[in-house]
Symmetry: C2
Subunit: 332 residues, 2 copies
DNA sequence: CGTAAGATTTAGAGCGCTCTAACGCAATTG
DNA sequence: CAATTGCGTTAGAGCGCTCTAAATCTTACG
């Protein structure tokens, strides 16, 4: 009942174990006759090579370990596709472990991957802290995708989020807005850069920045906007930390009797699935996620092969996806 | 530069390799003194057990292989969380491979998992056909989650989709609707059951079913509704194949000057992320995804341990999540 | 004290595969 | 025809670990 091994196949085909190995790795120095015999035997027995044995013998695995902050998040999904496409090209398998938005879980995931002897680690939006990342990259080449900060020891692929925020501001100003409020991401890792980008852009255009504390979901947006309505003046445009916050802004504004984009324009960030929905149709800052995934693989594999030691940092340019949530301000 | 092995640790701690093994598997029959010595040596060397060697020696892996139809789809993500939670309880690791909506890719993923000697296979919304599934379950216990049909040889975890559709109809009828149109899922695997549920429910309530061909995204909904507006009469309620189609209905209806739910009520299916957004607030049929994931693990692991041979089928009950996209029909 | 029972520790084989070195054999060559 | 070459094939060691059986060390008791 236990699975057939090379030994079994060899016997059946009337050859040595070594020859079966050669056939399985389709070596060129096997006669056509024997190759056929071996393949036939393997087929009949339902033979399947044992990857653990192979990895052990070869002392390499041709496998990459990827950890995703949160499988739920469609932003990361896109990165995964990029990673897989590139890994395919290089003949590597990608094993995915779910971080579950939890540093402790991620730490265990790193451990699992290392025990599996993955040849590189791809961390997508990790919650891990610097020490964890240093420790990991001491063992195996590591690349971090889409995390604002610098990652000591690891390669980093990001987009320039300051620039992304500036794109949003610029778009609104070109439409004629001058009173633009930013709802920030609170403690979120990307919040700092986006806020800074917003602030710089506003100042350089001679406008006064107004930043409200937000967060990363709909409820946070609601709180911020209720606050605006009650104690502050309502701006003509809102630049939200991300699409979800922007979605919250949309519904809260409408609940308050304000129309988007007629009364208030709204811009999001990330160009997630949400923004694309017709019913939302959010103008938003887009990050080239697929490309980020691809570059992550290239970078880290190139690091293996050329054994470069200095970590690289790649900063891609964000773009703006204009949809129906922005328009010129109502003529006063 | 190569990683330390048990041998290395043993030398450093001044004990035998076997003792290190015992410590690593925290056996109770090791003296405290040696245990400490070994742990210290391991720590200092940064020792990490090689899972491939262990799996090879043990002839088992304590690893489960999961294949997800499409990482993008948030519906599946929730299932993943359920699977992981349950697998944790049993001390199994879960390796995830992305099917990428493509049967061929899935087939390769199955192969990879089998070569990794996973002890069971969890297929979430697979695109594979019956033969593939039969072949896989001949090698390793297999459970299929969220796929309408019967899966020969494999365990199956689904919800009763006919019943889900009936819930939607019933809700609308209770609100007072009688003219309810269904936009179906075209070739989608779940379409048949949902349509049938709709039709039966309508008939049993003495209402005339009207089914339009839809699909599984926004554009499909738009086509169907434009059709309704132009050639047919507009109903007072629409039951869509899934949330995305419902979202498409929402925007198309509004573009046509109809208000939801004042003029037309809309019900979706799946209770995805979209439905929850405040701005959408879709009434929708909910499947207990987390529970489905958990049951998948329980079922398949119990199958390993009790070596049951007959495949099981578990059909969970869907529920209705009522939100703001449904209301009584406008009084005529 | 001697020794049996129990508690710790270890030697060594084996898991399924790859890889190096060597082997057998036919074809080629001087 | 002996020697060389080269192709196809194979023996056998070794990858890092677990596991069984046996060795060694303690402890306790008569």
């Amino acid at each position: 009942m236990s699975r057939p091994t090379m030994e079994t196949v060899a016997e059946r085909a009337g050859v040595s174990r070594a020859l079966v190995s050669l056939v399985m790795n389709n070596s060129s120095k096997v006669s056509e006759a024997k190759r056929q015999a071996v393949l036939r035997a393997a087929e009949q027995l339902g033979y399947r090579p044992n990857l653990h044995a192979r990895n052990l013998a070869q002392a390499r695995t041709k496998t990459l370990g990827m950890i995703i902050n949160d499988i739920h998040n469609p932003f990361f999904a896109e990165v995964v596709y990029g990673v897989e496409a590139a890994a395919d090209d290089y003949g590597f398998d990608v094993l995915i472990l779910n971080g579950g938005r939890d540093a402790e879980r991620e730490r265990r995931a790193v451990e699992t991957h290392l025990q599996f002897q993955v040849e590189a680690l791809i961390l997508v939006g990790p919650k891990l802290d610097d020490d964890d990342i240093i420790r990991a990259s001491a063992v195996v080449p590591t690349v971090v995708v889409a995390s604002g900060r610098d990652n000591p020891g690891a390669d980093t692929i990001t987009t320039d989020e300051e620039r992304g925020a500036a794109l949003a501001v610029q778009h609104l100003v070109e439409l004629g807005h001058t009173d633009i409020v930013h709802i920030d991401g609170a403690a979120n890792i990307s919040s700092r850069a986006r806020s800074r980008g917003y602030e710089k852009a506003m100042r350089s255009l001679g406008l006064e920045p107004r930043i409200l504390r937000g967060g990363d979901d709909e409820a946070d947006a609601e709180a911020a906007i209720v606050n605006l309505a009650e104690t502050d003046s309502m701006p003509t445009a809102i630049f939200a930390f991300n699409d979800l916050v922007a979605a919250g802004a949309l519904s809260t504004l409408e609940a308050a009797g304000l129309r988007v984009p007629d009364d208030v324009s709204v811009v999001g960030y990330d160009n997630t699935f949400i923004a694309e929905l017709n019913h939302m149709s959010l103008t938003t800052v887009n990050q080239p996620r697929h490309q980020m995934g691809q570059l992550a693989i290239r970078t880290v594999l190139e690091r293996i092969e050329d054994d470069r030691t200095e970590p690289t940092r790649i900063d891609l340019a964000p773009t703006l996806s204009v949809r129906r949530s922005t328009a010129p301000p109502r003529k006063a």
